[in-house]
Subunit: 289 residues, 2 copies
């Protein structure tokens, strides 16, 4: 089965369990709005790719891990978009959750998605109990304190920002969790996959900064120029567009080099190469080549 | 060791792990503000009492379960107090988290406390992997969708409220989780403990409604008269004060009857009796007797 099919199926099954009889219907709708229709699903694809490279002996567990990571990502977007943070009006070309359902349901949708992520993992990995604690700790570390997404977002509320910690936590942590969880779901040693996740997380952050300066809003599906408007750190601002393109290329190369010896190493390197090309904004593709 | 000492120690250990080197300091402080100084800790005490009645063969797991339940409770209070919900200014006699730290850090503190609850359970129960999936599912169900705290809160955003589902989810679910998790942490069959948790959850809700009409703000540590001001359903409004006192007494009696046969049944019934007395607002104690 195609990875994207596996991911969507796992996410639909998780959302169906949340939207069971007796559930408040608008919260269920807000959660679906946050997760579907799909974005690039880059983190869960990475998770499945690493699980595949490690043998993927328990496909259901790998799919649950991938879905859990995507649910956490969606939860973080819903909360980041809230009026008290970015006050974003659009996401993936549609109204954000709080614009479509109001801020109270957006807060609750994020909360419920975080819980659903842990439940999704616990339900599926119950069949392989020895793998469950490790997977849970990987997931928890990537979204909580001291170094997960919530910690990353919180650096924006500090008087003095630790920029390295900010990026590592806000973007890198969930990418690292994707590679670590993919390995752990397949019963492999997760730690040697951390470097790959962190490099790809940084590459994704640089690409995101480039999209923010190079795209129009219709292409991006959300407002552009937000980094400059909100005074946020940006690789495009710090390095210039050509410097940021160069950095992206260097990171992709380092990511390919970092793949540990495993049976699926060649396919994984090919996936990283094609993903690195896809990440470059279309308007800059010629300049990057 | 006294139950309250066990609970505070487990909570302090959990918060210390969140506030590790590299953590954003204001988010760490907001999380501590949400959890300390302690409230009544009624849910974790219930969890430990049930674990004790079931033999408490793994005290560390019972303490982790109790701490996880209290962390979830604290997270729900932080999010409920947000400007987009109750916009509460005080809680436990101090400024609410969003008044002390701002709404962004209050959102993130709630998120991080939810994650910390799952991590606390996963870390300790890793030593008894057979008990971990059940404990995680109990915890997840009590706070997520379709019937946990987030679902309960979301009923306030529906055009037509299902009152039974609202109370069951918003208050009853975490009380039921406290009894179920106490049993599961001690390796006992959890389901026969559900009735006790649900009855105590309803008793607590009735008592809360009575405090809202009978206390002054200094006694309660938060504003009074909020149910009427916000048009929320209230047992005191529906049954009158004497009717609500009678209901509380009936529920406490039913809770005592519901304790399944176990070695610690007598102590547990005594605890329920003293707790039911403590729950009655001081100004109504003579009327209740």
């Amino acid at each position: 089965m195609e990875p994207m099919t596996r991911i969507e199926r796992a996410l639909m099954a998780a959302l169906a369990r949340a939207d069971a009889p007796g559930a408040p219907p608008r919260l269920a709708a807000a959660m679906r709005h946050a997760v579907f229709p799909r974005g690039a699903r880059i983190r869960p694809r990475l998770c499945l790719a690493v699980a595949g490279a490690c043998g993927d002996d328990r496909p259901g567990v790998a799919e649950a891990a991938a879905a859990a990571i995507e649910l956490m990502h969606c939860a973080s977007l819903v909360h980041d978009d809230l009026p008290c943070f970015d006050d974003a009006a659009t996401r993936r070309g549609r109204p954000t959750v709080h614009r479509a359902f109001g801020a109270p349901l957006a807060v609750l949708a994020g909360d419920a998605l975080i819980v659903l992520a842990f439940e999704t993992l616990a339900r599926e990995a119950a069949a392989v109990p020895a793998r469950l604690p490790g997977l849970l700790m990987i997931l928890g570390r990537s979204v909580g304190m001291p170094g997960g997404i919530a910690a990353g977002q919180a650096w924006e509320c500090e008087a003095e920002i630790d920029l390295a910690a900010y990026h590592r936590a806000k973007t890198g942590a969930l990418f690292a969790a994707a590679t670590l969880a993919g390995a752990a779901a397949a019963g492999a040693e997760p730690d040697r996959w951390r470097g790959l996740g962190e490099l790809l997380g940084e590459a994704y952050q640089v690409a995101d900064d480039l999209h923010d300066v190079a795209d129009d809003a219709a292409t991006l599906g959300k407002p552009v120029g937000r980094d400059a408007a909100l005074g946020r750190p940006s690789a495009a601002a710090a390095l210039g567009i050509d410097g940021a393109l160069q950095r992206l290329s260097t990171l992709a190369e380092a990511a390919m080099q970092s793949v540990p010896p495993c049976r699926g190493a060649a396919e994984l390197r090919a996936l990283i190469r094609s993903e690195a090309t896809r990440l470059v904004p279309k308007s800059l593709a010629a300049r990057a080549a």
